[in-house]
């Protein structure tokens, strides 16, 4: 089984071809870890690059991520048996007062595609819910999203609440969304800024010291 075929199927968003390809690869005794690292992860990396280059748009990213998840679902129990750990754990959510979820969902899908475990706490997430999620899940990274200038300040309140709860040093904070700027992110004391989903993966890897 050619892992390139799986990689191509992910990029083309062909979930059925990914499912068949992964099954064939496993039957051919290719390890789950190899399929993940040599086919699925680089495929999503390529999808992110095409998005950043303006060759892919949101629908193409979504169907690629859906195809990737089809493969991941087949591999997950085998990876657990092998003791393969995710490259990091991330809690993501859209800040209080903000119901937008497309950008946040894309970030989650792209992080999964890069090998992260993603806990999505949803939209319109209160400060308390973010803090509780960090306490409960102990993620390496908290990713917050905002699409409105009026809701952006809520991210600052979450960061302050994390500090008050003694959690700030235990988690990196990434903030993004259409109106968010790098300067605003620095001002509120977040660790990183990402303008889009593909950039969020790169930044998450940087912050956690994950190498490709």
């Amino acid at each position: 089984m050619d892992l390139n075929a799986i990689r191509t199927a992910v990029i083309e968003g062909n979930a059925l071809a990914v499912e068949n390809g992964v099954k064939e690869a496993l039957e051919a005794k290719i390890s789950a870890e190899s399929i993940l690292i040599e086919a699925l992860v680089p495929a999503m990396d390529e999808v992110g690059k095409r998005f950043e280059a303006g060759d892919f748009f949101v629908p193409e990213m979504l169907i690629a991520a859906r195809a990737m998840k089809t493969g991941i679902a087949l591999l997950r129990p085998l990876l657990a048996e092998l003791g393969v750990e995710p490259v990091g754990k991330v809690v993501i959510g859209t800040v209080k007062g903000d119901l937008h979820d497309i950008g946040k969902n894309l970030v989650g899908l792209m992080l999964e595609g890069a090998g992260f475990e993603v806990i999505d706490v949803g939209t319109d997430v209160s400060i308390e819910t973010f803090v509780e999620a960090v306490q409960r899940e102990e993620p390496h990274l908290l990713g917050m999203s905002a699409l409105l200038t009026t809701t952006m300040p809520s991210a600052a309140e979450v960061i302050k609440a994390l500090s008050d709860a003694g959690l700030r040093d235990k988690v990196k904070v990434l903030f993004g969304g259409a109106p968010v700027t790098e300067a605003f992110t620095e001002q509120i004391g977040a660790d990183g800024y990402a303008p889009d989903a593909a950039a969020a993966v790169t930044k998450a890897k940087d912050l956690l010291g994950v190498t490709n």
Binding site: F57, P59, L62, I63, R66, I102, A178, P179
Partner: protein, 361 residues
């Protein structure tokens, strides 16, 4: 009921004369609008309450608006307008989506409980829809009350894929445009047919007032105008725009004299060339989006719009308007100046703008 506006019949004659010349390309200056209140902001929290949206008698709603209209002053090329803000894309409500008001968050949103297969979804005009009835009655009541004193605007009907997203959810529609392209085209066509009917039926009421047409944006026409939109196209490729959005827009512009497009955010700029090709599209409104540089900073983009043969509408500060007339020239622009000014300040500002406008020198 009579209305006492700070706006005379002579003012209306001036508005009709100058806007007509502007559309015809016969005016070397921009249209410049200033008001003492912002109709996009005023009272919207109250308006988005359920009581206001559906239950308050039409006359009581109009009483409140009348107070504001009588209190307002209009400078430059601004005109008295009644735009009843029922939120973005009420066409979804007209077609049967659930309408959820969120007055504290200053908005409304739509959903649809039946998540049936896309093949089973059919969207058709329903004359008895409560939201359509409400908007129709408010529009009719306003025209009957104010006649030719106030321009009654079309409500915000919405863009075709934005309306469809209210039924499918935005997330699902993003999959649909890949998985079920023919069904998306079919539904877009159904929405467009209904949209044109809503526009025309409201137009038949509005034209009785004899003060042209307008909409939520700062554009007025003695004939038929509207600010079309497609927020969904921020997320899709030019190929998908061509397949799903362009046919709808062109169908809408065919029934208008002065169709306008709401270009919202840098993600939509990739569609600008296609928009400029649309023969019946008269103008493009540029909204940079939250967190982005102000409209006047997008000089190359504004030039592309004007040099592409379209009118251009932007919301700007007084300084922003001056930058545009100095660097590009005001001809072809409709500049809504967001600063609040006293009458003498507005008059002085218009003189400064005229002196600096390279289109006029």
């Amino acid at each position: 009921m009579s209305i006492n506006l700070n706006f005379t019949d002579e003012d209306w004659q001036r508005i009709e004369r100058d806007w007509t010349a502007w559309w015809a390309g016969e005016l070397d200056r921009p249209m410049v609008m200033m008001e003492t209140f912002n109709p996009l902001i005023f009272g919207s929290k109250k308006i988005f309450s359920k009581d206001w949206m559906l239950e308050k008698p039409v006359d009581e709603v109009l009483d409140i608006f009348q107070e504001r209209l009588e209190d307002a002053h209009y400078f430059g090329d601004a005109w008295p307008k009644f735009f009843y803000n029922h939120g973005p894309g009420m066409g979804a409500g007209f077609l049967g989506a659930n309408v959820h008001s969120m007055p504290e968050q200053n908005t409304i949103w739509f959903d649809f409980e039946e998540q049936a297969p896309i093949e089973k979804l059919h969207l058709t005009y329903d004359p008895d829809n409560i939201w359509w009835q409400r908007i129709y009655n408010l529009t009719k009541g306003a025209v009957e009350r104010w006649g030719d004193k106030v321009a009654v605007a079309h409500t915000d009907i919405g863009g075709n894929l934005d309306i469809l997203a209210s039924f499918r959810t935005t997330n699902q529609l993003l999959y649909d445009v890949c998985d079920s392209q023919e069904e998306v085209v079919r539904l877009s066509n159904e929405i467009t047919a209904a949209w044109i009917r809503y526009y025309n039926e409201l137009y038949d009421v509005i034209k009785q007032g004899g003060r042209g047409t307008s909409n939520w944006a700062a554009v007025w026409s003695p004939q038929r105008t509207y600010m079309t939109q497609s927020d969904f196209c921020y997320m899709i490729s030019p190929e998908m725009f061509e397949k799903f959005v362009a046919p709808d827009l062109e169908a809408c512009y065919e029934i208008m004299d002065h169709g306008f497009y709401h270009l919202d955010g840098k993600g939509q700029i990739i569609h600008l060339d296609r928009l400029l090709e649309m023969e019946n599209l008269a103008g493009i409104q540029w909204i940079p989006g939250a967190g982005q540089p102000l409209p006047e900073e997008w000089t190359d983009l504004l030039k592309r719009i004007i040099e592409g043969g379209k009118r251009c509408q932007v919301y700007v500060t007084a300084e922003g308007a001056r930058k545009i007339v100095r660097e590009i020239g005001g001809k072809g622009f409709a500049l809504y100046v967001i600063n609040r000014m006293k009458p003498e300040e507005a008059a002085d500002f218009l003189k400064v703008l005229a002196a600096e406008d390279i289109s006029q020198h």
